[in-house]
């Protein structure tokens, strides 16, 4: 299995959300009002980084005062530290193209959003996320702290400019992956100094990988038939933001699947029952349709909180909990290591959006 696909990474880096950005009416001082700005928001980027692109559209119409830029979707102020792709995947249950957002240059909602004064604030948030990820993966974030200033700057600039090659060049030196076929962290081969026998670190520089994951969980309700009918999110209280780590390992020669990872990450939602056993009962094939209706009914009545596989190209809305990563709703039998290596963000976190269809026995929303 190809553990790291440059092609997949190119897709992720090239992914962007078409945005139609309207200036909030309270800030329009000219007639006629300015037309909305049409901008592509990089999936792996952040909204504040778009301000230099957007501002020229509106600067002549803004009221006097200092800029404190923020965005909202359907009235919900958008958290600026969440990657644009994640915001879109999470808040637009049924993808809206273009995605209509409202930009404000005044009246920052300090009760909902932490301050974001400049690109530096976003960079600080990114570097800290990177450190946090490194800490989960390595047990410390020395590799980030020891980065030369110029490398940190270049890494950030690669992200800002969508320069995947530049990013890969610098990040590969951080030794944070990719996860190898043996589910161990692939390390660049290097001469290791002789270590004392009682040192906890293995001399072979490989160890099971711990993967940092950010989960964004949204309850769309049991009876929801079509995603476009999902209740609008009017408050961040409706989203559970959960940060957990999962250790990748092989199961008796088999790759750990995404399904298994979800079970480890969210046992309260995805249940304790061995999903592989269930899969065997239903038959073979990743692309088989989501079981016969009979099977589904049995499973649904037996345990509401089990994940069912979605099949590729299925037109019928799934009755299962939906998982979205980089805008993809992946087959749950994909090896988790592939998901990690190819779908994680430049901060080395895997950002997962989960749409909960079950109402009972779910993760407690905060």
């Amino acid at each position: 299995m190809e553990v790291f696909s440059e092609e997949a990474t190119k897709y992720v880096w090239g992914g962007a959300i078409p945005l139609q950005i309207h200036l909030h009416e309270s800030e329009v001082t000219t007639l006629p009002p300015p037309p909305p700005a049409l901008v592509l928001g990089s999936r792996i980027g952040y909204l504040p980084l778009l301000v230099p692109l957007i501002k020229p559209y509106f600067s002549s119409t803004l009221p006097p005062g200092e800029d404190t830029v923020w965005f909202d979707y359907n009235g919900l102020p958008l958290k600026w530290y969440v990657p644009i792709g994640v915001l879109f995947d999470l808040l637009c249950a049924e993808p809206e193209r273009p995605w209509n957002l409202t930009v404000h240059f005044r009246g920052y909602p300090g009760d909902v959003l932490t301050p974001c004064d400049s690109e530096d604030t976003v960079k600080w948030s990114y570097i800290n996320s990177l450190k946090e990820a490194a800490y989960v993966i390595n047990g410390n974030c020395k590799n980030i702290m020891n980065m030369a200033q110029v490398d940190q700057f270049d890494l950030w600039q690669s992200l800002v400019k969508g320069n995947m090659d530049g990013y890969l060049r610098i990040s590969s030196r951080l030794k944070l992956g990719p996860v190898g076929e043996d589910c161990f962290l692939k390390q660049a081969s290097s001469l290791q100094p002789r270590q004392a026998i009682d040192e906890p670190d293995t001399v072979g520089c490989s160890r099971p990988s711990r993967i940092p994951v950010r989960l964004y969980i949204r309850n769309v309700g049991e009876s929801l038939e079509y995603l476009e009918d999902a209740p609008i999110i009017d408050s961040w209280d409706r989203i559970s933001y959960i940060n957990r780590a999962v250790e990748i390992h092989k199961e008796g020669g088999n790759y750990m699947t995404l399904k298994h990872a979800m079970r480890t990450l969210l046992p309260e939602i995805f249940g304790d029952e061995d999903p592989d056993k269930k899969y065997e009962l239903r038959g073979e094939g990743n692309h088989e349709a989501c079981s016969s209706f009979g099977d589904q009914e049995t499973i649904s009545t037996a345990r509401n909180d089990l994940v069912e596989e979605t099949s590729f190209g299925s037109q019928r809305p799934s009755e299962a909990n939906l998982i979205r990563i980089q805008g993809i709703e992946p087959d749950l039998n994909i090896p988790f290591s592939w998901v990690v290596n190819n779908l994680r963000n430049p901060d080395y976190f895997l950002h997962l959006c989960v749409f909960l269809r079950t109402s009972s026995h779910q993760a407690k929303a905060t």
Binding site: K131, E132, Y135, P212, Y241, I242, R244, K364, T366
Partner: protein
């Protein structure tokens, strides 16, 4: 990965440690609900120390974003039954 169910109802012991010239708190250990966000810890520190801004870190390593849940931080980065939070008046680990 914590084996116990990391539910919101748990209380987490937070150990607040001053860094640099930040004032040392008389009472440095606190219990906080796991379901609270890290912003509560930051707010508490700012109130106690009468500061508008503080730089707050976990294990002298990184600053988590304020929306992260205390229980998640404890499960991922806590040790010896507590979560160590360092605070400084200026950026300590940039």
């Amino acid at each position: 990965m914590a084996s116990e169910s990391p539910t919101a109802d748990r209380k987490v012991v937070v150990h607040l440690r001053a860094t640099g010239d930040a004032p040392i708190l008389k009472q440095a250990k606190f219990k906080i609900s796991g379901s609270d966000k890290f912003s509560k810890v930051i707010e508490f520190l700012c109130r106690q120390l009468h500061r508008d801004t503080l730089f707050v870190y976990i294990n002298s390593a990184f600053s988590p974003n304020p929306d992260e849940l205390v229980i998640d931080l404890y499960n991922n980065f806590g040790f010896d039954g507590k979560l160590v939070v360092n605070y400084a008046s200026s950026m300590a680990w940039g």
